[in-house]
């Protein structure tokens, strides 16, 4: 509830100042150097699309005309850099995919159709640079003085950010600081793009069902990418301030340091850091622009008789000089190679001759929480398939 109140505070301030309030100072997603903005309505032969690049804007109707406009805008398999698709809604990509699926392998438009297929394949990777829903990304970067539902509309963001069009909004997002953790998601986009090009060029198979090994590896990649996005948000100074109100980040004053055990008097008792969970910390308030330089685990938590929350940490570099300082504690970040590790570790495991995926033997259960956004994306894709 208090996270919602924090959100309300942002919106009220934005309304009072008639100016967006920043939610973060760093990019909310991986960045594609080459992007094309597309707005499409209708399906199949009735498809109408506006294709917008820095050089031109064209509005065309019909499946072939749309794919041809995309090819002219540089969307095909010939580029080494994967193109990014800027959209303003959730309808455009399914509409483009519906026409891409009708193109045969011997058609001159096949490379553009395959590139659209790649967008659809990557769209549900958290933080991907392949498909960029601009209003959603703007809502992650700024709060405006309006209810959340209003922020789904691109016109709302054009008005609040004084932008002319989608590309202009994208420029506003590019002006934020880089988020180093997200570079690995871009690297995975590039890896996926090159694999897709090989697959589409050699056997024309991008429309075939995904092999179960690839599906399993891609699920692991999606989960790793969601972890990276969560870590990138907590690396952002403003993201940390917001996370105080979800309980993901805890801040407090050091009361005591004994044998590398540090006891904090925390400002709130609704933190989510549990006993034995790995954490990182730094000296200063949550919005201090530093990277955590302390690491350890949560040793325990308690509430003093006067109602003060107490959090005890085992930190390797805790010293008595820290007594009286403000310390901010957050969950341990995802590794700089989390996505790559997921792809290669699981790819290797699933690719082994004795793998349960290959042999069909019952596997030993290994469970983890699937992030909500991965589940939501799968549900949306499932709904789309049933249409």
């Amino acid at each position: 509830m208090s996270a919602a109140a924090f959100d309300l505070g942002l919106r009220l301030r934005a309304a009072a100042d008639q100016h967006p309030v920043a939610r973060r100072v760093t990019h909310p997603c991986a960045i594609a150097p080459h992007v094309v903005a597309v707005t499409a309505t209708g399906r199949g032969a009735a498809l109408t699309a506006t294709v917008h690049t820095a050089a031109s804007t064209v509005t065309v109707q019909g499946a072939r005309a749309v794919l041809s406009a995309l090819a002219t805008a540089g969307v095909d398999l010939s580029t080494d850099e994967p193109p990014g698709l800027l959209v303003e809604d959730r309808r455009t990509l399914p509409a483009l995919l519906s026409v891409a699926r009708t193109i045969s392998t011997d058609d001159a438009l096949w490379p553009s159709a395959a590139a659209v297929g790649w967008w659809a394949d990557r769209a549900d990777i958290p933080g991907t640079s392949a498909v960029l829903n601009v209003p959603v990304l703007c809502a992650q970067a700024w709060a405006t003085g309006a209810p959340p539902a209003a922020e789904r509309h691109p016109r709302h963001w054009r008005r609040w950010l004084r932008a002319r069009d989608t590309l202009d909004l994208w420029d506003r997002l590019l002006a934020l600081d880089p988020a180093p953790l997200l570079r690995q998601i871009r690297a995975d986009d590039e890896h996926s793009w090159n694999s897709w090009r090989d697959r589409a060029s050699h056997d024309g198979g991008w429309r075939q069902h995904e092999h179960h090994r690839d599906a399993a590896v891609n699920l692991a990649v999606r989960c790793a990418a969601a972890d990276v996005i969560a870590a990138a948000t907590l690396t952002d100074p403003l993201g940390r301030v917001a996370a105080v109100h979800t309980g993901d980040v805890v801040s407090g004053t050091v009361l005591d340091v004994t044998d590398a055990r540090l006891t904090l008097a925390v400002t709130r008792i609704d933190g989510r850091l549990r006993r034995d969970s790995p954490v990182e910390a730094f000296i200063g308030p949550p919005d201090r622009a530093v990277n955590p330089n302390l690491s350890g685990r949560v040793a325990g938590s308690a509430v003093a008789p006067d109602g003060t929350g107490l959090l005890t940490l085992r930190l390797g570099r805790a010293s008595s000089q820290m007594v009286g300082s403000t310390v901010t504690v957050l969950p341990q970040r995802a590794s700089m190679n989390a996505v790559k590790q997921a792809r290669y570790t699981y790819g290797s495991l699933y690719g082994q001759r004795g793998s349960w995926l290959v042999t069909g033997k019952t596997p030993v259960p290994h469970r983890r929480d699937v992030p909500l956004e991965v589940l939501a994306a799968a549900a949306a894709a499932d709904r789309e398939d049933k249409k």
Partner: protein, 56 residues
Amino acid sequence: MIAVTEKTLSDLTRRVLAGTGIAANDAPAVAAGAPSQAHPLLLAALQDGWRMGDRP
């Protein structure tokens, strides 16, 4: 006291509250300009959100 009490914002407050799901028993105190009657955690969050506008 934070500017959430300003009358000019009350309509927006009501609309935003409806969209953010703040519990009905806390919302009226804030929307009516009496945040001191709201839960302390809610008030702290509201003030912190408001102050984000001062940060870069």
